[in-house]
Symmetry: C2
Subunit: 306 residues, 2 copies
């Protein structure tokens, strides 16, 4: 895990998983300014938001305006989360060319999160794939939420994760797949072994990502153990903003700046500019009502970081 050739891609999720945790709608220009600040820090992949019902998450009502602003931005992959075919159509209409489709391995969480059965969500995934068919520029990531733990039913059996993944990859063979620790209750050894098991089920060349929360303080360790399993795409949120509104007790996403510290100082390149990242994180932390976390931003800065 050392050497110059190693690198990891950190997908910034504060605008998507983070902003939705803020009750009061943020002005669109404030969102855009924060997204610009994150891009200036070297972020190459970012989830800008969700195409969901504004009734469910009012914070996401301005996705079209945000899309318009970032239209044609080169060198970055800006995605949007969708829970159904309707969201995918809206995203396409607004010229987002990268989607994250989310469903939960846990039936109870899927019902709470997107008000569908897992089987119905998989039908929606099929419709999304059909909608995209023929567009060679289109990218899809499939998030398997509650791949470790469900806030309603506890530990999610590994066999359920394998079954859900098998169904999803049969529908979307070219997608990247994320095992998501929605509640932050996964432990590092389990993260590694689950990834190893599910990755062994997949064809070579399948892309993998890990999405984690820091509820139990395992966020950084979980990401590193996912890396050891071969995962090279990690999700974080600057300032540790976030917390799933449908996962009671879950705190924010693992802080991007803590992931930076763990990987970069360990010789695994993130491509990020720390000073600019911390500046963006400070701006995020100043948002009214946001729950933030992370460590690096809060340590007295007596010395520069490697």
């Amino acid at each position: 895990m050392t050497g110059n050739s190693e690198s990891v891609e950190i997908v910034e999720g504060a605008p998507r998983d983070g902003f939705q945790s803020i009750d009061k709608p943020l002005p669109t220009e404030e969102k855009i300014a924060i997204i610009e600040a994150l891009l200036s820090a070297g972020v190459k992949r970012m989830e800008l938001g969700s195409f969901v019902s504004p009734k469910a998450i009012p914070q996401m009502a301005d996705m079209a305006d945000i899309a318009a602003h970032f239209q044609g931005r080169d060198g970055v992959r800006l995605s949007v989360l969708v829970p159904n075919a309707r969201g995918a159509e809206l995203a396409l209409k607004n010229r987002y060319s990268e989607l994250v489709f989310v469903f939960s391995v846990s039936e109870a969480h899927n019902q709470n999160n997107v008000r569908r059965s897992v089987e119905q969500s998989l039908q929606q995934l099929r419709a999304v794939v059909d909608t995209m068919a023929g567009d060679a520029n289109f990218r899809l990531r499939v998030d398997l939420a509650t791949s470790f733990d469900c806030p309603f039913t506890g530990t999610v059996p590994l066999e359920e994760v394998r079954r859900a993944f098998a169904k999803a990859i049969a529908i979307a063979p070219d997608a990247e797949f994320a095992l998501c620790d929605t509640t932050g209750r996964a432990d590092p050894v389990t993260v590694k072994t689950r990834f190893e098991t599910v990755m062994a089920d997949a064809p070579d060349g399948t892309g993998w990502a890990f999405h984690g929360h820091d509820t139990f303080g395992m966020g950084v360790a979980n990401a590193l153990f996912a890396y050891q399993a071969g995962v090279r795409v990690m999700e974080g949120a600057a300032a540790g903003l976030g917390g799933c509104p449908f996962a009671p007790g879950a705190t924010g996403n693992t802080a991007t700046e803590d992931l930076y510290f763990a990987f970069q100082q360990g010789g695994i390149d993130t491509g990020l500019d720390l000073e600019k990242l911390l500046a963006a994180a400070d701006r995020i932390a100043a948002l009214p009502g946001g729950k933030t976390g992370g460590h690096l931003r809060l340590v007295p800065r007596t010395r520069a970081y490697a």
Copy 2:
């Protein structure tokens, strides 16, 4: 890293590294009650305090009384930290049969911490070993403080750690050795590679321990990566109490309950009773003026832990 045969020994350090961070002297009976609570949680090794000048750390003035209380306690290893031969003599006089001798790899930190050069500390180590000679029941641990980072000089070169270890093991060939992340600024990959390098310098059978702080949120990940290197003894402090008074900016030790969660849920047995551990941690967290941390104690307890 899975399977029933795996286990880790967590050395509880709240009474030693933690209590010294509390300015106002704690009543001896309060200390004893907390130590008893930790023992009832299944703690099998604990650092009870330090034999240092009461002028430097007034909190440790009652070590003799604490020793008297725990005299002859079976099935547990209760140690005391000493920075010099005088401390070792006092410890022996008070019938502590296990000592932790501490010196810093970094010259600057050693001067600040124990007011000696590293060479002078090594002479003290020799005197401690001589003092113990002939007592077959005696155990010694040598803590190499600032084995990764020094609050005054930054990253400590690996070669300095190797040299310091070579000198120390030449003096104390039967000791257990700890590489200590005194400031909490070590990253997991570096923890693993440093342990692997220094352990390769040592004879087979040498015992190893890791002492970490959670300043940068790396505490749990660092311990897990030390485990991967082969270290089977980890130091923690219940409630994350602590912070070196001579390492500016360092926050508390990695919380014992977070180490419990990371190891136990990953199938690596700690031998601890979580409910009792959390009760002890809550009591520690209620101490006036203590800086605490950790995660597990603070998550809403909607479900039991595995």
